[in-house]
Amino acid sequence: MTVLNKRIAVEDAIADLKDEATVMFGGFGGVGSPPSFISAILKKGVKNLTVICNDAGFPGIGIGPLIVNNRVRRLIASHIGSNPVAGKQMTDGFLAVEFSPQGTLAERIRAGGTGLGGILTDIGIDNDMVRQGKKIVSLNGRAYLAEEALSAEYAFIYGKTADEFGNIIYDKTARNMNPLMAMAADRTFAEVERIVPLGELDEEEIVTPGVFVEGVAETEGVNWKWVWES
């Protein structure tokens, strides 16, 4: 059973979010990260989060502020180079970082969202750090790493338009990990520019079917300055 009107206020969406939660955030260098959810979560004060995101954002952009404000203790990402604070916290031992090659990270999230246990890939098979602790599976004479699926309690994603059922379309390169994460969490909330009544989205264009989405909130837009603006 599901409701057909999933409009929700940002604060209500995060009402049950607790310390220690595992949370996915969409976005690539902050592009396609959900700014209103991120600032509400900062304000709420939850800490010791495990975060799954493509990257660590920039210090003031994307999920960067959650890291800068010491809310994240564990990060699963492909890259943290654009956020020096994440690098420092990692060196100091405050932030545990698990690196996954970007495409592997994407497929692990997709697997988590589509009922699979994991994926087989040869990416990183020659790399000690990537290979470490993973099973090597031989299939048709070729060797692959077994990479575990990723899922989370929450996913906070960003889209362009949603209808009231939670069907979502995205905006250009702000799509990135968002549709994958939408599927991979127990509770997915989307922040969008516009929420429209049922029937207004072209069914052929919908990227994320509403079945994966618990609530949709209207975005207040980014509250940061992009690197290219300064």
Binding site: F28, N54, S82, Q102
Partner: protein, 217 residues
Amino acid sequence: MGLGVIERERIAKRAAREIKSGMIVNLGIGIPSLVPNFLDPGTSVMIQSENGLLGIGESPEKGREDENLCNAAGWPVTVVKGASYFDSALSFGMIRKGAIDVTILGSLQVSQSGDLANWIVPGKKVPGMGGAMELAQKAKKVIVVMSHTDKNGAPKLVADCTLPLTAKGCVDMVITEKAVITIDSGGFVLKELMNEEDLDDVLRLTDGKVRIELPLS
């Protein structure tokens, strides 16, 4: 050693000659991002960006940027006719499948067997691999553009990489401010000297086995 604007552009210009019409190309950040400026007019390619775009166009004019239309380094771009958007799983699906004809990347070291080390300096810089492993392992041709030596003057073309590897045996060609070097089963092959560099200098600053196949001038 840090490169000046002229040297960076010279490297980018030479790399641009490796790109032919019809190719699907992925460009890293830094010098690789300069390459499109030097393509011959009439060279028609589709540039892929791993954050979910095939068909990058020119940089937008100031004031016409779209914050949701950026390259993998986070800088605003435009799109060409025929471009498409997709999620990260599909983006790397096309990379792993081998749909990228050429990728041009920066690097810290390249070995004579084509090993690439460009993602980590232990104890110093730990940025993470991003999408570099997929591109290095799966692009049909991997071209490295980098300075010939590091900031201490030590060779970056080496017999064996001392830095952790991104991927083994993947590099096909290296373009530096001093030389164009390809890699085959016998090691480095010196194909061109850049900007009338001295042959002995280039050899002195290159570790590992080097075979010389310079064009007769």
